[in-house]
């Protein structure tokens, strides 16, 4: 992996995201709105809400992070940029890794900024907010990696946009389990660290595997 072109690609993706702030904003608003739906379903009673809050928080964040994935490679494939990227001398896996990093950098921090809003609507005790931020940060990194592989695999497929969540969400179940468990532990006053470490292990496993899978899919595409 050569450093220069890799960072150039990440910087380019960030610049494009800055020119189209609506895309990141849409993901954040989607996150807040999905989180806001849960109180309507389970009733406004604080104890009922607080019980479902951890799962609701992680699930809505993952759904929101899924939104921009559809165009991750699609836009580049349509306008010819993907050919130029594949011919830049970067390996396809490094290229996918740069895309995943850019997706995480453009969706992760905005989601974290909106987490207090969603957490407050779900009546999550403030003592659990640090754990919630850590859990959402790690699980959105996990989804960025998985989603990049999913986006590369569904590239060029008819109805790829509908196929992508079907492919990615089942694989994201472990992130929901450990993420919600970490937040729940913090709510109950227990240490969230073990669950966060497990979540970190998921990210560490996906870090090399997902770009490799995505790279192989791009090469054959």
């Amino acid at each position: 992996m050569r450093g220069g072109p890799w960072f150039a690609l990440v910087a380019q993706e960030l610049r494009l995201a800055a020119r189209h702030p609506g895309d990141s904003l849409a993901a954040v608003l989607f996150f807040v709105l999905v989180a806001a739906l849960f109180p309507f379903g389970s009733g406004p009673a604080p104890e009922a809400l607080a019980r479902s809050a951890p799962g609701a928080l992680v699930a809505s964040a993952l759904l929101a992070a899924l939104l921009p994935l559809d165009r991750l490679f699609g836009a580049d494939a349509e306008d010819g940029t993907l050919d130029q990227l594949l011919l830049s001398g970067l390996s396809p896996a490094a290229l996918a890794g740069a895309k995943a990093a850019a997706h995480f950098l453009t969706t992760g921090p905005p989601l974290l900024l909106a987490t207090p809003v969603a957490a407050a609507m779900l009546q999550l005790p403030t003592a659990a907010w640090p754990a919630a931020l850590a859990a959402l940060g790690l699980s959105s990194a996990f989804l960025s990696l998985l989603g990049t592989a999913g986006a590369a695999l569904t590239l060029g497929a008819r109805r790829g946009g509908a196929l992508l969540p079907l492919l990615v969400l089942p694989l994201a179940i472990p992130a929901v389990i450990f993420g919600a468990a970490a937040i729940e532990a913090a709510t109950a006053g227990l240490p969230a660290r073990p669950m966060l470490l497990l979540l970190g292990a998921l990210v560490a496993a996906a870090l090399p595997l997902a770009p490799l899978a995505a790279g192989a899919a791009l090469r054959e595409g």
Binding site: Q84, L87, S88, G89
Partner: protein, 198 residues
Amino acid sequence: MLEARDLACLRGERAVFAGVSFRLAPGAALLLTGANGAGKSSLLRLLAGLLRPAAGALLWEGADALADRAEHARRLRFLSPQDALKPALTPRESLAFAARLHGGGGAPDAALDALGLLPLAELPVRLLSTGQRRRLALARLALAPAPLWLLDEPTLGLDAASVSRLGGLLARHREGGGAVVAATHLPLPLPGAAELRL
């Protein structure tokens, strides 16, 4: 420098072409002609290493060119029918990115000047016309030298003045020992080019 031996290409279950062979010396140019769907673009993508040949071999200086595809990619510049431009960026930013992507070589402003785009350097690409976008895509070729240029319909949407600018660019590239393979339906400023009819 580049040699194709009995290349064949499959798209889906259909054979697009088979038995394509040619040799390209430094400074040479090869025009790919043929009806729509004859496989001109597929052959260019195959030469770039973006497609895998169904049969045959592609050799660079006598060795398998596609053994190390990253290495092969660094030898060439590929101009696709799409311009590979982002509407939100300016021409200068687009070229600066292309230069960094190919390892930092080349000055964006000199490349813009070569295609007469310097006055438009700070305008977002979304405001450029079709021909201006094509010129910006061509300006990538002027960034840093690469021995092999693969051009898919390079003059699409260009006016006469821009075609002659491209002619100058192509002539300098060939004088420096570079080779060109171009797919086209229109006459190109490539004197002495061999023609391969697909």
